[in-house]
């Protein structure tokens, strides 16, 4: 039982209602001699409705998580993107559901989705250490890519005062120079 992108969007609109700020169906035509189209659903929602939206996606069918990522452009918000693939294993049938929202930097907390899909743990741990977004309910909070002795409060993907710009400035100087400045020798 598969659904088209339009039907998926209608189902999500029923569940989420006012929480959807904007929605769009993008259709892409592929092929050379036998052209066909497949659709993707792109949603922008309110950040507090994330858990409800993810549960709605899981309610349609067990999805495949493409990725979770976030983008900081130095402003007041971090744009977070969740992408799910529904109805995979069907020729031309996969519908990508891309959920976007702006998370204010004053309240960087999101609900975890690892209780629904344990495979999302990798994504959440990466976002947590790279952007400083806290996931409520995430059990494993160790660093994934960064070393264990990474300084607290520094997030490589951030482009504000929490970023690593000042660390990058020191990369050309030797350890000895830095020690001399500090008077450690």
């Amino acid at each position: 039982m598969t659904m088209t992108a339009q039907e998926v969007l209608e189902r999500l609109q029923e569940v989420l209602g006012e929480a959807i700020l904007s929605h769009e169906i993008r259709e892409y035509t592929m092929g050379v001699k036998r052209k066909r189209t497949y659709g993707e659903v792109w949603l922008t929602i309110r950040p507090e409705a994330l858990r409800k939206a993810v549960e709605a996606v899981f309610g349609i069918d067990y999805p495949h998580l493409h990725f979770i990522t976030g983008n900081d452009e130095g402003g007041e918000v971090i744009t977070v993107v969740y992408s799910f693939g529904l109805f995979y294993a069907n020729p031309w049938g996969e519908v990508s559901v891309v959920i976007k929202f702006d998370l204010p930097k004053s309240n960087l907390v999101l609900p975890t989705i690892t209780d629904l899909m344990i495979g999302a743990e990798t994504n959440e741990r990466e976002i947590r250490e790279m952007l400083g977004i806290e996931f409520e309910g995430l059990k494993n909070k160790r660093h994934l890519f960064l070393p264990d002795d990474w300084p607290e409060g520094k997030y490589p993907w951030r482009r504000d005062e929490y970023g690593v710009e000042d660390m990058v400035k020191h990369t050309h100087r030797s350890v000895n120079e830095i020690r001399k400045e500090r008077g450690e020798q």
Binding site: V32, K33, R34, H64, Y88, G119, L144, L146
Partner: protein, 412 residues
């Protein structure tokens, strides 16, 4: 007497691992009771580098993400960028892209078969499979000029043509691999030692595979018919109508162990040969690039606002690139790469618990891990022991390609 638990670290530098990753296991006798995987030893921040370059530079940077899947990342990149720009590659370019993508799938699968045999201690199988793989690398070098980083893709097309003289060499190669694949099936699938060593090892149920979000041959071996070439087709795959290969089609049931993965990969080699044959038969004529002028291409990217997701079925699973263009920049404002092993490494922890220490290499190797391969440094010395400068290295590479053309009987 209570058993003592011992701490056994494997990696990041270890003879059994080609790439830096650390598996920290607590063992009780021969059984693993606790396990922890650490990654990130080769994290180079390529995504951040790509956000500071223009799109064409980023395309060739994406090729350097990984050495073995060096076509997968550019493929996903061009698919996604073409979606964002709204351009379509010419038909001939789409077919050539498909051929090169499938050639790489074959060489990656044969490489994996050798690696997994090596991890079990079957070194003669490693040498035999890798010797058979050389013919394919020669063909790739004939078409593109390089063995590893082909640099043949371009946004809206390809940079190298498959000429009439190459077609004969390609058809010879297909015949060679038809026989070679049959021999490999014979050796791998009916060998009692290989069967005993892989049946029931690293067994993943369908439910677990779904929850762990695995992709590619690992998911297909667990019985999930999941393949980007089938679900969201592109290029020539859309004409062919590729079907995912699952063990149910071959032997009637999917167990999801290392043996099933071997089977899936071996049959995928056959499928790839069929696809290449179809593309050679049906190859359309025409130009190679939608926008041949790079300056015009970058100008078009500057005018583009929007985002897209590009996906490609790499040999190991789906590669996904997400970008955002805009702000009058000629490169991606934001770029995120998800490689297949990102999800597939999730399987190690549940699979290693309760397994034996001797199974660590198999469990680690069976997903064909690709830890965003290291940056490589090759120092080539000539006969007198001096280091060769880039020009001389380039000249040597051209000489070797010419010699290859003579060996393969190609005249242009």
């Amino acid at each position: 007497m209570a058993k003592t638990q011992y701490y056994v670290p494997v990696g990041p530098i270890h003879p059994a691992l080609k790439e830096p990753i650390r598996v920290e296991a607590m063992v009780e006798g021969e059984r693993i009771v606790e396990v922890d995987v650490k990654r990130g030893f080769a994290h180079r921040g390529i995504e951040y580098m790509g956000m500071k370059r223009n799109a064409i530079q980023t395309l060739y940077l994406s090729e350097r993400i990984c050495g073995i899947c060096s076509i997968s990342h550019p493929y996903a990149f061009v698919i996604g960028t073409e979606k964002a720009l709204g351009i379509e590659a010419p038909p001939r370019a789409q077919y050539i892209r498909t051929i090169i993508g499938e050639l790489e799938r074959i060489h990656s699968h044969i490489l994996w078969l050798g690696v997994v045999a090596h991890e079990m201690g079957f070194d003669s199988l490693l040498f035999w499979t890798w010797k058979g793989r050389e013919k394919l690398l020669d063909i790739l070098e004939l078409i593109t000029g390089n063995r590893i980083n082909y640099s043949v893709f371009m946004i809206g097309g390809v940079r190298r043509d498959i000429k009439e003289s190459h077609v004969k060499a390609l058809r010879d190669m297909i015949n060679y691999y038809r026989i070679f694949t049959e021999e490999m099936k014979d050796v791998f699938l009916s060998d009692p030692v290989y069967k005993a060593r892989t049946r029931g090892v690293a067994q993943l149920s369908k439910k677990m595979a779904l929850e762990l979000n695995v992709v590619g041959p690992v998911a297909r071996a667990a019985g999930i018919r999941m393949d980007v070439r089938q679900d969201m087709p592109y290029d020539a795959y859309a004409d062919i109508g590729v079907r995912a290969i699952v063990p149910q089609d071959i032997v009637g049931e999917a167990r999801g162990d290392a043996y099933d993965i071997t089977m899936v990969r071996l049959y995928e080699i056959d499928q790839s040969l069929d696809i290449i044959e179809y593309c050679l038969d049906e190859m359309p004529e025409g130009k190679l690039m939608a926008i041949p002028n790079y300056v015009a291409l970058l100008a078009k990217i500057r005018r583009t606002e929007g985002e897209a997701i590009g996906a490609h079925e790499a040999p190991r699973g789906e590669v996904i690139h997400y970008f955002r263009y805009g702000n009058k920049r000629d490169g991606p404002l934001f770029w995120k790469v998800i490689a297949p092993s990102y999800n597939n490494i999730n399987t190690w922890k549940p699979l290693l618990l309760g397994a034996e220490v001797a199974d660590i290499p198999i469990v680690v190797a069976y997903i064909d891990p690709c830890m965003c391969c290291n940056d490589r440094l090759a120092v080539v010395r000539n006969e007198e022991g001096r280091i060769i400068d880039p020009e001389a290295l380039h000249r040597k590479a051209v000489e070797k390609t010419e010699r290859l053309k003579r060996d393969l009987g190609v005249r242009e």
